[in-house]
């Protein structure tokens, strides 16, 4: 059953606005609608200038991470009823912290992807693969890094992280998660290179175990756990 939902959105147009400001909209929505549907409804029927990223609409592409009621979430994975929108609560939507706002909810992800690239997020193996088969990996060895294979690079974790907001050079939880995915892969030989990158001042020891990342991850990746596993790999294998 459709109800009236109040949404407060942080708007910023670099061509017109000096500062970001809130605008409030009233939208007809179903409790089972997603926040993304609410944004679409505003854009399509009320204010075409509202700008945000979205693509898959099903929690796969990682485009629409934003701050919903103060916490980083994918707009396509949060329902109106999850945030009490159908019960008359105002829903507040802002761009993620720790990124430059380009326009409205769209932030500059370039530095984020540069940091991702810096940890060499690809298989490094200096030997040729066996000619007759693929590189073998047991189910047990595959299991070790299973969680961190699930990352969709949405940035929700890094954008929730106080050291990431404060330090523009900190690689951030997302890059660390993706380093974890290869460091603990038995087929990979680049662990030492990645550990030395992450052992630098802007690497894993910047983490203050705040746990915002673990709470924010839409893929339920235990981000803090992955960071601590890398720290221990450094502490115990010197």
């Amino acid at each position: 059953m459709a109800t009236q939902v109040t949404v407060k959105i942080l708007r910023y147009d670099p061509e017109k606005d000096k500062k970001a400001h809130f605008e409030t909209y009233t939208v007809e929505a179903d409790p089972l609608d997603r926040i993304l549907d609410v944004l679409n409804s505003i854009k399509w029927y009320q204010d075409g200038s509202l700008t945000y990223r979205r693509s898959c609409a099903h929690g796969v592409c990682g485009s629409d991470a934003m701050r919903i009621n103060g916490r980083n979430r994918l707009a396509c994975k949060v329902l109106v009823r999850d945030v009490g929108g159908d019960a008359g609560k105002k829903i507040q939507i802002e761009p993620m912290l720790g990124f430059r706002i380009l326009r409205d909810l769209v932030v500059d992800m370039d530095p984020f992807f540069e940091k991702y690239k810096s940890i060499k997020p690809y298989l490094i193996n200096y030997e040729d693969a066996p000619a007759s088969s693929e590189r073998y990996q047991s189910a047990e060895d595959r299991e070790i890094f299973d969680e961190t294979t699930k990352c969709i690079l949405c940035g929700a974790c890094s954008g929730s992280c106080p050291p990431y907001w404060a330090g523009p050079d900190f690689v951030g939880p997302a890059a660390i998660v993706n380093a974890h995915r290869f460091i603990f892969d038995s087929r990979d030989q680049g662990a030492a290179e990645r550990l030395s990158i992450l052992g630098e001042g802007e690497g894993v020891f910047r983490c203050r175990t705040v746990y915002n990342c673990t709470d924010a991850c839409p893929r339920n990746i235990p981000v803090t756990k992955a960071i601590e596993q890398i720290r221990r790999a450094m502490l115990y294998n010197r």
């Binding site: 701050r67 009621n69 103060g70 916490r71 980083n72 912290l97 929730s160 106080p162 203050r208 175990t209 705040v210 746990y211 915002n212 673990t214 709470d215 235990p222 803090t224 756990k225 601590e228 596993q229 720290r231 221990r232 502490l235």
Partner: protein, 117 residues
């Protein structure tokens, strides 16, 4: 503003108490330095410290050290014990309970002689 959960508040408190204790350390170096000017100066200052409001502040300082210590142990566990992260919520609860179990009785013994003579 970011609406973080327990971990974020514990971290903010850890930094505040850490910086606070550091500030007290400087103050303490400064007041001990007064001895160099003669015992009278030093005694006068200690007299000031005996005032009830200072007792309350002392109790707050004890709280800051206790909190920083207990939470510091939690953070150290997180780094060195591989299962700690799986028990994050429980460890937070233990930290908070342990803190109050020590801090509240400490308050009783510290404030009783000043306020209930």
């Amino acid at each position: 503003m970011y609406r973080g959960q327990s971990g974020m508040w514990l971290w903010i408190l850890h930094r505040l108490t850490g910086v606070g204790i550091l500030g007290f350390l400087f103050l303490h170096i400064a007041d001990t330095y007064l001895v160099g000017f003669g015992a009278d100066y030093y005694n006068e200052l200690l007299f000031l410290y005996k005032n009830p409001p200072f007792r309350v502040l002392e109790w707050v300082l004890v709280g800051a050290v206790l909190y920083h210590g207990f939470n510091g142990i939690r953070l150290i566990l997180m780094d060195f014990w591989d299962k700690a992260v799986d028990h994050h919520k429980t460890l937070v609860q233990i930290t908070v309970v342990a803190f109050f179990v020590v801090w509240l009785p400490a308050g009783f013994f510290m404030l009783k002689p000043v306020f209930f003579k």
